[in-house]
């Protein structure tokens, strides 16, 4: 299969801050714990969500959008077959071994990347049978480093766990013979406002063919994935709240730690364990606005792509307001022409 995606070379680095919350659910269970307990940092009391969890939402959304992904979710119907490693490649590219033999390794890699959107974003390790590896050729890379990297997300506050004895998924799952399922304990967090930080590296993008179009898609993708991929029972209760992508004009530059500029306005008075929903939290964003204003003034910032939920409250320089207040402050800080208010459903 020839490369047929119209890729626009990615030239700019981006830095992403993404906030979402999880109300009365388990944002990221730890499979090594009893009953899949939520991951909580025992020292700080913060909930932890791995980058793998976030990327799973994105991969599932890409799959639903029929963009083609390499690492599919085995729990999502209607996947009846579980292909081997060679089969995964063949499925995503629709290439057979004979086709691959006739191609160079780099052409096969290009076909692979053009058909596996998740690998363009997040990379993948490709390990095939020795026969298939021979067919692909030596210049097919064994590993693609993902240009989109997220750190683990953390709640901005101490979380409170709650335990219930019944959960629909465990009750129903127990029917297949797993009697323990009926008695499994369902662990949830009362509330967690989780903050993620990520970087899109334009240099690494060359290796996975991540395009400017792909990065633009990411603005809606993260938001929509949190809306659409959390409607299952254990994840019901998630809402995206704030998305910022600072797209930089300067080569090899990113501010770094933009997420540190968002704090809780009442952080000195409470650890936040009493929070129950988004209306309990006011975000102090002075340092974020100042950092972006500085980047804009020095010519580093090209565009700030923003999505804001209707229900957030922010404080800036002692004044508080809702989403429109935040957007106006950002426009004032970096210039209105630099702020792109993303319509995720456009």
């Amino acid at each position: 299969m020839a490369a047929d995606t119209d890729t626009t070379t990615l030239e700019n680095r981006s830095e992403i801050v993404f906030l979402y919350d999880a109300e009365d659910c388990n944002p990221n269970g730890n499979p090594l714990s009893a009953n899949d307990k939520p991951r909580v940092d025992e020292t700080t009391g913060q909930a932890v969500v791995t980058d793998v969890r976030l990327k799973r939402y994105v991969r599932d959304q890409l799959d639903d959008d029929e963009l083609g992904i390499y690492i599919r979710n085995p729990s999502k119907a209607p996947y009846e077959d579980v292909p081997d490693r060679d089969g995964l490649f063949k499925r995503v590219t629709e290439l057979e071994e004979d086709d691959v033999e006739d191609m160079s390794g780099s052409d096969a890699a290009e076909a692979f990347l053009n058909n596996a959107a998740d690998v363009r974003y997040f990379g993948a390790t490709c390990s095939f049978s020795s026969e298939f590896q021979d067919a692909l050729g030596d210049d097919f890379p064994g590993q693609f480093i993902g240009p989109v990297q997220f750190e683990h997300g953390r709640s901005m506050h101490t979380v409170t766990t709650k335990t219930e004895s019944k959960q629909l998924s465990t009750v129903v799952a127990s029917e297949a013979g797993d009697e323990q399922g009926t008695f499994a304990t369902d662990n949830r967090l009362q509330y967690a406002l989780v903050k993620f930080h990520g970087v899109v590296n334009e240099n690494a993008a060359q290796d996975t063919l991540l395009s400017a179009e792909d990065v633009e898609r990411l603005d809606a993708l993260l938001w929509r994935s949190l809306k659409n991929q959390t409607l299952t029972r254990s994840k019901m209760g998630h809402q995206p709240r704030l998305y910022l992508r600072a797209e930089y004009a300067t080569d090899d530059y990113h501010h770094g730690g933009l997420d540190d500029g968002i704090e809780r306005a009442d952080a000195d008075e409470t650890d936040g364990a009493e929070y129950r929903n988004i209306t309990d939290v006011t975000l102090a964003v002075d340092d974020l606005v100042a950092a972006l204003a500085g980047d804009a003034e020095e010519g580093h910032l090209e565009t700030l792509h923003v999505v804001v939920d209707d229900h957030i409250t922010v404080s800036i320089d002692g004044a508080t307001g809702g989403p429109e207040f935040l957007l106006k402050e950002l426009e004032e800080a970096v210039g209105a022409d630099r702020v792109n208010r993303v319509d995720v459903y456009a």
Binding site: E23, Q167, L168, V171, V172, E175, K227, T232, R233, N277
Partner: protein
Amino acid sequence: MRVLARLSARADAAYDHAYHHKLRGRIWRALEGTDFDEQHESGEPPGFVYSNIFPWGEMQEGDERNLLVASPHESLLANVAEDFQADRELNVGEMPLWIDEVSALDVDVGEPGTSGTIETGTGVFVRLYEHHREKFGIEDGHGDSPTFWRPEHSIEPFTAAIEDNAQQKHDLFAPDYLPGPTEVEGPLFDGYELLKTYALPLTVTQGVEREVVLSKWRFDYTVRDDDHRRHLNLLLDCGVGGRNGLGLGFVNITNE
């Protein structure tokens, strides 16, 4: 959220049209001893709704049938599912059934921009109260008693009544800070196609039977925004109109 129970008939049986009250009894029995038990007599929407035993029609031993139970409360459904698995006999009046399998389903009207159709699986129960009658100029001499909606009352009082009802459910089951159906611009549905109206003798409580007027509908929607999505999904979990605890107003997405 929904639970799908796959059933099989344990004997030949005619379809028992008086199933509502009996099926309700079985679901409340499943909730005995749980936190939901005390809502039984509260008079508020119970937070669940269920389909009829479908497909409709007389059954022969071994025939396969289905039952769906929906609720915004996951733990309520978990209790129902657990009871269904522990006690496989499901006797609905004169229909002796066996529960073969219980599974969970997630339903969603889709993200903003999605168009589709929601169709009633059971009849919708809509009563027009005095404020509805005054607003829409309906005079039928019922005094303070509510009036069952009929086609001659026109569509507007029907839509107003189901939106008021949906707002009541939103107040009960959704977070306070989120706007309900009557607190936003725009209707619940774009299109209302009346399929039929019919009268049904219904046992509302033990020994009390009333003739009620029900209607079946096809509702068209295009999801406007996240609020609208939540409102429509809530109706899939709670049912449209009143008396959902008797299995009335159960709806399905029929065309996405």
